[in-house]
């Protein structure tokens, strides 16, 4: 186990994560610093002891990153693969534009969670804020609590599973039936995220009505 004291800056940790030597790493004293554990390119295992600032775990590939605290805006932005797990809350645009991998938030995620996600899976044990999964294209957003306003606005093919209430659905986002394949998919995601005691059957699925996909002649006057 190699320990990085972030009071000395984040560059040494990030440089290590960009290298080829993988193993268990510990980072202490994050104190809300930005860009902690960004750009990892290998199967490192990183534990961060405390609250982080903007863009923690951004562009992650293969690494397993755990934040034992809260995360600021832009957690795991553009994640490609691997896993980013926050024990506390995550601020706005968590997992934005993520292409793959898994992001787990044990607490709440605020607004724009999963905005424009492109394949990442996101599991939030608490609530998500407004405009979550806006323009989400691929992957799953699992919300064990409630979702705020305009969930899934202008959604493409991402799948949204919400256990609690939804304040309102965004444009072109509709409720869809839970088929066996969705129960299986959701069950696997909850298992992978370490969420126990939650039955996939308690969730509601939302997805795109696909009405925004194509030009509609009835709307010609709007152009």
């Amino acid at each position: 186990m190699t320990t990085f004291d972030l009071n000395d800056g984040v560059r040494a940790l990030n440089a290590h994560l960009h290298g080829e030597v993988t193993g268990e790493l510990s980072a202490v004293n994050p104190a809300g610093r930005h860009a902690v554990a960004v750009g990892a390119t290998g199967a490192h295992s990183v534990s961060i002891d405390g609250n982080v600032g903007y863009y923690c775990g951004g562009m992650n590939q293969l690494a397993d990153i755990e934040v034992r605290g809260n995360a600021g805006p832009g957690l795991a932005e553009n994640i490609m693969s691997g896993r980013v797990h926050v024990r506390g809350d995550a601020s706005q645009y968590c997992a934005a534009t993520g292409h793959g991998g898994l992001v787990v938030v044990d607490g709440n995620a605020s607004s724009r969670c999963g905005i424009s996600m492109k394949g990442v899976n996101v599991v939030v044990r608490g609530n998500v804020g407004h405009m979550s999964a806006f323009m989400a294209q691929k992957g799953c957003l699992v919300v064990c609590g409630d979702a705020g306003d305009a969930l899934g606005d202008s959604l493409y093919e991402a799948r949204l599973y919400v256990r609690g209430s939804v304040a309102s659905l965004g444009a072109d986002c509709v409720q869809k039936p839970m088929e066996a394949e969705h129960l299986d998919e959701l069950g696997a995601l909850l298992h992978e995220a370490g969420v126990t005691g939650v039955d996939p059957a308690e969730f509601t699925r939302y997805g795109s009505a696909r009405k925004l996909y194509h030009f509609d002649i009835d709307n010609a006057s709007d152009y």
Binding site: A31, G32, N51, N70, G72, D89, Q92, G129, H130
Partner: protein, 295 residues
């Protein structure tokens, strides 16, 4: 971008260190707003009213201090480029200053509030105003990165919004020109083209019309268009409000000893007991207030 900080002491141990803790918070937000810095300090209850005015010229500042007691019955002291008048302060003081010391730019009037601000890097501001020596009940601070108007002391924050009231803003308002015109028709005067000054003026106007602070902030949610995280200082506490879109960041934290707000957690991270604090992100469009009972 701009950075906002606020610290509210629940215990004397924090009051005694208020300036030191606020200074650290302000410095942490220095790279969010390196062009100007300002603070509103709430201290000195029961010592009469206070007026802080910026007088840029050294000689004029010295002359004001020299004549203040004799001419307007106030004691005066210099803090940086400001003069703090204490005593029988009121509209007559403001009128006297306008006539006899027109260079004096009145920053705040009230029983506890003192506003100081400069177009200066936050690190330098903290040193010049010896914030480490400040004791008080609560304080707000702002580090500015100008986007809506010129880099001037007048354009920096906090903006006073009435006696003992002030506002700091991170964000940008899109309807400030129309609102400014409306408020000017209602009799308000503005010193700058700054959008945040319009927000401050808006609150001042609502309060003068009889609104409570909560009512004024609720109305602001309807009437102010744009992005904002506001922190508002009151005589007994402070309030935090984010717009319904909530693009602009904000973090709140609370312990048994203090309440703190900041644009980013790193401004809070060094407060005593921060690692055990309850930390959360304020909800969009929700008003948060902390107040002690009036003395």
């Amino acid at each position: 971008m701009c950075g906002i900080v606020g610290l509210y002491a629940k215990r004397d141990t924090i009051s005694e260190r208020l300036g030191t803790l606020l200074a650290e918070m302000l410095v942490q937000m220095g790279d969010r707003g390196p062009d100007s810095a300002g603070v509103a300090l709430y201290r000195g209850a029961g010592q009469g009213k206070k007026l802080s005015a910026r007088v840029a010229d050294d000689a004029q500042r010295a002359a004001l201090v020299e004549t203040a007691r004799e001419q307007i019955g106030c004691s005066a002291q210099v803090l940086g480029a400001h003069v703090l008048l204490t005593g029988e302060v009121g509209p007559q003081t403001v009128a006297w200053l306008a006539q006899h010391c027109p260079q004096a730019d009145v920053m705040s009037v009230g029983e506890r509030i003192e506003i100081y601000k400069e177009a200066m890097h936050p690190d330098d501001f903290v040193s010049r105003y010896d914030l480490g020596a400040v004791r008080g009940s609560h304080a707000l601070g702002h580090t500015r990165m100008a986007t809506e108007s010129a880099v001037t002391t007048q354009g920096s924050h906090p903006f006073s919004t009435g006696q003992d009231l002030c506002l700091v803003h991170n964000g940008s308002l899109s309807n400030h020109n129309r609102l400014r015109a409306q408020l000017e028709r209602a009799g308000l005067q503005f010193k700058t083209e700054n959008d945040s000054e319009v927000a401050a003026g808006y609150l001042a106007h609502r309060l003068s019309e009889g609104d409570s602070l909560a009512d004024a902030l609720s109305a602001a949610l309807e009437d102010l268009d744009g992005f904002y995280t506001f922190a508002i200082g009151t005589r007994e506490g402070f309030a935090v409000l984010r717009d319904p879109i909530a693009c602009k960041p904000a973090v709140l934290a609370e312990t048994d000893d203090w309440v703190a707000m900041a644009s980013e957690y790193r401004a809070i991270a060094r407060l005593p007991g921060a690692t055990e604090a309850r930390v959360w992100e304020p909800e969009p469009g929700q008003i948060y207030t902390w107040e002690r009972e009036a003395a």
